[in-house]
């Protein structure tokens, strides 16, 4: 009987570089409130959001994901040929078949490498980082591109007062690989399927296709078919977050070997600046601990939020390469995933370079009313 052999991996793994892509079109609360019955002040007070970015023109999921990864590879200094796995965390890839990772790999000049998509809602980046790091540790891969990217605007109703102001589009990516010292702690992750419906798509795809047939004969003015959008029971999510996340963070600070005093930077998922303030206080972090607040101008980009927020802090100097950061993603599933990591160097090519001069296209039809005043 044949004995099997195991490959040898690298025990110590780190984030070697980071890159991000922010869509050109910035949409302010004031603009949004031309169609939503709300105000800049109301939105900002409840969520900490002033602006978000939505894809327009030629920007689509494939493009923004690829751009973030291009920059991450460039910024990491890792030879492209040395990359052998691409993990793509997203909930908004627009095809059920095929998945996005192989085509993004091909766009990056890496056609042929192992590549897969991971769906775990807003916790997706943390899950993808964990799977990527374990692939390096067990020898299934050497250098891994991990992308978190979303186009949340596609499934958005801009008149919906509960979710219309929250979501934005964007992509962030990191390259991880072997390092002398370990820079990615064990991932602490979990889920709660009892609350699976707390953040969910309103119609599943087959129901929606049947609905589209049914509504063909109806007047779209009086009987609109609507879109497949994300619905959220905010209080239910908040209650879960308040109970589950403190425990997860405590576990994380124990298992990572880093205590609260060792944390230089806190990068929680950018879902709500108020929840994040609360978490920071409850963890006993100092008020002046650098804490990601990319949500203010980016909104909630789901699986994209953590790498985008990390990139923002490094690009603007709020955080520095080599610092110890606590990451925690949480959201739809419900799911969460966190890690303690050593931050990569500040990006040489940042997502802010030339961003203001980038041309924008018209907003898609379901969002066009926002600029149609």
């Amino acid at each position: 009987m044949a004995d099997l052999v195991a490959p040898r991996g690298h025990q110590n793994v780190s984030i070697l570089g980071i890159g991000a892509y922010r869509p050109a079109r910035l949409v302010s609360n004031d603009e949004l409130c031309t169609v939503m019955d709300s105000s800049d002040e109301w939105i900002y007070e409840r969520s900490g959001i002033r602006n978000r970015r939505w894809i327009t023109g030629d920007e689509d999921m494939r493009y923004i994901a690829r751009m973030s990864a291009e920059r991450a590879i460039e910024n990491s200094g890792v030879d492209r040929e040395q990359i052998d796995l691409l993990v793509f965390a997203t909930s908004t890839w627009p095809w059920n078949t095929p998945h996005g990772a192989p085509i993004i790999a091909a766009d990056l000049g890496l056609n042929g490498i192992s590549a897969f998509d991971v769906a775990a809602g807003c916790g997706g980046f943390g899950y993808a980082l964990g799977v990527g790091a374990d692939a390096v540790r067990s020898g299934s891969a050497t250098n891994v591109v991990v992308i978190g990217a979303e186009t949340m605007s596609v499934g958005l109703d801009p008149t919906d007062r509960s979710t219309g102001f929250i979501f934005g589009d964007g992509a962030g990516a990191v390259v991880i690989g072997p390092s002398e010292r370990n820079g990615i702690s064990p991932i602490v992750s979990g889920s709660d399927g009892v609350n699976a419906e707390a953040i969910k798509q309103n119609h599943h795809t087959v129901d929606y296709m049947a609905r589209a047939v049914e509504y063909q004969g109806k007047n779209p003015e009086t009987d609109p078919v609507g879109r497949m959008i994300i619905e959220m029971e905010g209080p239910r999510v908040f209650r879960w977050a308040a109970v589950t996340l403190p425990k997860a963070l405590t576990t994380l600070l124990t298992e990572s070997g880093a205590g609260p005093d060792d944390i230089d930077v806190f990068i929680p998922h950018q879902a709500n600046a108020r929840i994040n303030d609360l978490m920071r206080k409850n963890l006993g972090f100092a008020d002046d601990l650098p804490t990601a607040n990319d949500i203010e101008n980016t909104g909630n980009t789901s699986a994209g939020s953590i790498p985008l927020a990390m990139e923002e802090m490094l690009a603007t100097g709020k955080a520095k390469g080599g610092q110890t950061a606590l990451l925690l993603g949480f959201g739809a599933g419900l799911s969460y995933a966190g890690a303690v990591v050593t931050l990569p160097p500040a990006p040489k090519i940042s997502s802010f370079d030339g961003l203001d001069e980038q041309p924008t296209g018209p907003l898609p039809a379901h969002l066009a009313a926002v600029e149609g005043r």
Partner: protein, 338 residues
């Protein structure tokens, strides 16, 4: 500077149990041919398929995954509380949000554990099993439930005579966990994104939502392109999986390729030069192509019928949409009681 801990995991792992769920309704070639100009004989000659199973319209990938998952756990002589991670490989979970795995974790009695979906087309099970192995070796989990589940019947254009007879529904699951000796070889995995279009949903969701919505999206297949890729490239991938596991083709007792087409699989088996008595899984005959579910379903079939035995050395080879593939040499899990 703080030293960030790097935990180590368990290095000898294998499949502790397997379970399958096959939907009740059997759909024969004759029934398929009510809507297309074809015949039972034509379909069987080209694909090796005689019948497939379709899920009820109110059945879901999550439900089928739960049924297969529960059996895999029971057949591993474990309970839901022993499972500390759930990975669901699928392309046909019908919600972009939330993922399906969290609900499955709850239903099998493991609410709270890490749970996520992976999408890698027909290679999904192979990718998910590789990830499960990596999580255990990396110390992130101990007993991982890996599920491949698909409801392809809802993606089919029943009048498309190039592919509507190929696909079926079902779910298969295994528990990956610690064993005395290593029972999972290194994974050989890869992709060809340049052939992204060869197996695809023909209208993406954004185009559908933004358009007049008269034409719904369907799954399409460029059979010739896929056949060519599978026949040429997959033989090489399978050989590499043997090479990295340091196993000779003559050591393989069971070959479990993705159940896409019996003719492709016969060709692959012939070119890999197995022993004459090596069992080649042929679950496709009564199951059709169930994408990410096909390999665990086919493994369960050869174990249940006695064609294969626990501990047999098997070569698994998943390939399909992406295009993506994953190959791995494994030891067959215990015989399923249920």
């Amino acid at each position: 500077m703080v030293e960030i801990a790097a935990q180590t995991g368990i290095s000898t792992i294998g499949m502790l149990g397997i379970g399958a769920y096959r939907p009740e309704r059997v759909v024969t070639n004759d029934e398929i041919c009510e809507q297309i100009d074809s015949s039972d004989e034509w379909i069987y000659t080209r694909t090796g398929i005689k019948s497939r199973r379709f899920a009820r319209r109110d059945e879901t990938v999550v439900e089928m995954g739960v049924n297969a998952g529960r059996k895999a756990i029971a057949n591993a002589l474990l309970s839901g509380s022993d499972i500390d991670a759930v990975i669901l490989a699928t392309n046909t979970h019908l919600l972009l949000t939330p993922a399906g795995a969290t609900k499955i974790a709850t239903e099998i009695g493991a609410n709270g554990v890490p749970a996520f979906d992976v999408t890698v087309g027909c290679a999904g099970f192979g990718y998910a099993m590789a990830q499960a192995g990596d999580l255990i070796k990396g110390g992130s989990a101990t007993n991982v439930l890996v599920i491949g589940a698909e409801q392809l019947s809802v993606t089919l254009d029943p009048t498309d005579r190039t592919n509507c007879f190929i696909f079926g529904d079902g779910a298969g699951a295994v528990v990956v966990g610690p064993t005395d000796t290593l029972e999972l070889g290194p994974v050989v995995w890869g992709s060809d994104g340049s052939q992204f279009n060869a197996i695809r949903q023909d209208i993406d969701w954004i185009t559908f939502l933004d358009g007049d919505r008269v034409q719904r999206p369907y799954l399409r297949l460029e059979g010739t392109a896929v056949f060519r890729w599978a026949a040429f490239e997959m033989g090489k991938a399978a050989q590499r999986a043997l090479d990295v596991a340091k196993v000779d083709a003559s050591d393989i007792d069971v070959f479990v390729p993705h159940q896409a087409n019996s003719r492709i699989n016969e060709l692959l088996a012939k070119n890999l030069h197995f022993r004459p008595e090596t069992v080649v899984a042929n679950d496709i005959e009564t199951t059709g192509n169930t994408s990410a579910a096909s390999i665990p379903l086919a493994m369960e079939e050869v174990l249940s019928t006695g064609a294969a035995k626990p501990g047999d050395t098997a070569l698994l080879l998943g390939y399909g949409a992406g295009l993506s593939y994953a190959a791995q040499v494994v030891k067959m899990p215990p015989i399923p009681f249920e």
